[in-house]
């Protein structure tokens, strides 16, 4: 879903191509690693959405062999509670990626709202937003999430909001900088002269022109969001439970059998790494394709 949205932006006039398919093809040829990463991201999203119908077994079926090494019927082996690891990885994608995407949605709504208005209006509001960013940067990411879920409960929504809040200052900063770059351009002046209100100018004229950096910062932040969610669930403080797997928690559940069953130590962590790597590489590729000025900024 998110990828389709990304492609639409690539297809907008001003990105140097008439058809979006052509634009994507050109970008993919220039950066094959980015293209592969994009495909992996797309597959992961499909996996998270269609998980239940793709999964070979129920993630909570407990009548398989104990700690069985990977075989054809159990490609990822079984864990210390007689469960199929592949099925749990597939179901876990819903928590791990779902929270990542929800967190990004929160950070985009807040970050675009704050960044757009602070860059556009400037003045006291800008200073206030700047102060908020400084305060948010004062909290260690994971500590803030742990604090938040302890106080407000271990729900899908609270964790997503907590991670979204952590990523908000980064988004705000990028959006604000981009807005400052277009605010004084002539077409904004023209819109003002035509009598457009602030809201109309911000949504119709400024926002479409800062879309590229927003997409880039979001795709880079998804990797971070997945990592933070994995850490929280590894600590056993996430939404996941015995019957509601997430990748971080799966690694922690098998703590006592890592040495006996090496696959339990590798597979959940590898799933996290592959997802984060795919989104990082795809984010880098998007950045290079959409906004070369941001290169090397993260």
């Amino acid at each position: 879903m998110a990828i389709a949205a990304d492609l639409e932006v690539v297809a907008q006039p001003g990105f140097g191509s008439t058809s979006w398919l052509g634009a994507v093809g050109k970008a993919a040829r220039k950066n094959p690693a980015g293209a592969v990463a994009g495909v992996v991201c797309f597959l992961l999203v499909i996996l998270a959405i269609a998980g239940p119908s793709l999964s070979p077994y129920s993630p909570n079926r407990i009548d398989f062999a104990l700690l069985h090494a990977p075989t054809l019927s159990h490609p990822f082996g079984t864990d210390n509670l007689f469960r199929d690891l592949l099925s749990r990885i597939i179901f876990g994608a819903r928590n791990s990626l779902g929270i990542g995407f929800a967190a990004i949605a929160v950070s985009i709504v807040l970050g675009v709202g704050l960044g757009l208005t602070s860059g556009y209006f400037g003045g006291a509001w800008d200073s206030l937003v700047g102060g908020f960013i400084d305060i948010m940067f004062a909290f260690p990411a994971l500590v803030l999430v742990i604090f938040f879920v302890t106080v407000f409960g271990r729900e899908f929504a609270t964790i997503s909001v907590a991670i979204g809040l952590i990523l908000t200052p980064y988004t705000t900063r990028v959006v604000r900088t981009a807005v400052l770059g277009v605010r004084n351009l002539q077409y904004i002046e023209a819109a003002t002269a035509l009598g457009s209100g602030h809201l109309r100018i911000m949504t119709r004229h400024v926002l479409p022109n800062v879309a590229a950096p927003i997409i880039v910062v979001a795709s880079v932040n998804i990797g971070l969001a997945i990592l933070i969610e994995a850490s929280v669930s590894f600590l056993g403080l996430g939404v996941s439970s015995d019957t509601n797997p997430s990748w971080g928690r799966m690694l922690q559940e098998t703590r006592n059998v890592w040495q006996q069953a090496w696959w339990t130590a590798i597979i959940p962590g590898a799933a996290i790494s592959v997802a984060v790597l795919a989104f990082n590489v795809f984010g880098d590729a998007l950045r290079d394709a959409l906004d070369p000025r941001l290169r090397g900024s993260r």
Binding site: G131, F137, A138, P140, I146, L235, L251, A265, I272, N280
Partner: protein, 315 residues
Amino acid sequence: MGRYILRRLLLSIPVLFIASILIFGAVRVMPGDICQIVLQIPVPAEEQCNNLRHELKLDKPAVSQYFHWIGGVLTGDFGTSFFSKRPVGGEIQQHMSTTIELAVLSIFFAFASGVPIGVYSALKQDKLADVVLRGLSIGWLSMPSFWVGTMLITFPAKWWGYSPPVGYTHFWNDPLKNLEQLYLPAISLGLALSAILARFTRSAMLEVLRQDYVRTARAKGLRERVVVSEHALKNAMLQVIVHLGLQVAFFLGGTVVLEYLFALPGLGTLLYNSVITKDFPLIQGLVLVFAAIIVITNLAIDLSYAWLDPRVKYT
């Protein structure tokens, strides 16, 4: 310079002040009955509840509670832990050294590995070595530190029967044992930072190596090693240090997971335990101390930048 330091110090006070209000406020607006949450019984006795509320000063208005708490914090009294009944300040002090040692060791590892890789990568720009190192660094960046830790615990033990001693021995009691307990968590935590440093160093070096003064240094016949290490690297490191500030918040959060994984008695383990036992005085104090560490670190980074780069005006 003195005025600059003073101004930066004064600017960080409101940040910590507002952070303390947010932490305090969040605990107060927490949904649910504090009584049930803390005592962890569904229907606590009324008397127990009243005692608890009195002990927590919850029977007073919120503003006066806040000033009581923050007044205590400013004089070093963070309140008393629900669980251990010991002063929160003492608990934090006792666990602080482990976290600081872990952080220092992993930062040392990150610099020792990341900077040379970044420099080498820049010198071999777009050659095979550069492409491979860049691929590796983005891979490291994507691996969760606790998974690296998991593998460092599992595989040496599986293959060679080697596992470092569990727990934490004070450095002054047995330095070797202490380092053996800490080097695996330090590497796990430092790997992501090392990759970030390698990326920063590479792009900073590429920029610096194109500067006129580097060409001059080469033209006057200096050896390449001297040009790279004396002229280029020193200037590149300035840019690296500036970018480092934003990483502190993520890095410090990572100590929590690794202390949990390696059973190290640091601030992260203390936070984990206090979250499990819902020990709110301890949680409040810890989050504030973490915020203070970050503010101080960022202050130190800014100051060291101003001190290292004579072009920065200290006003």
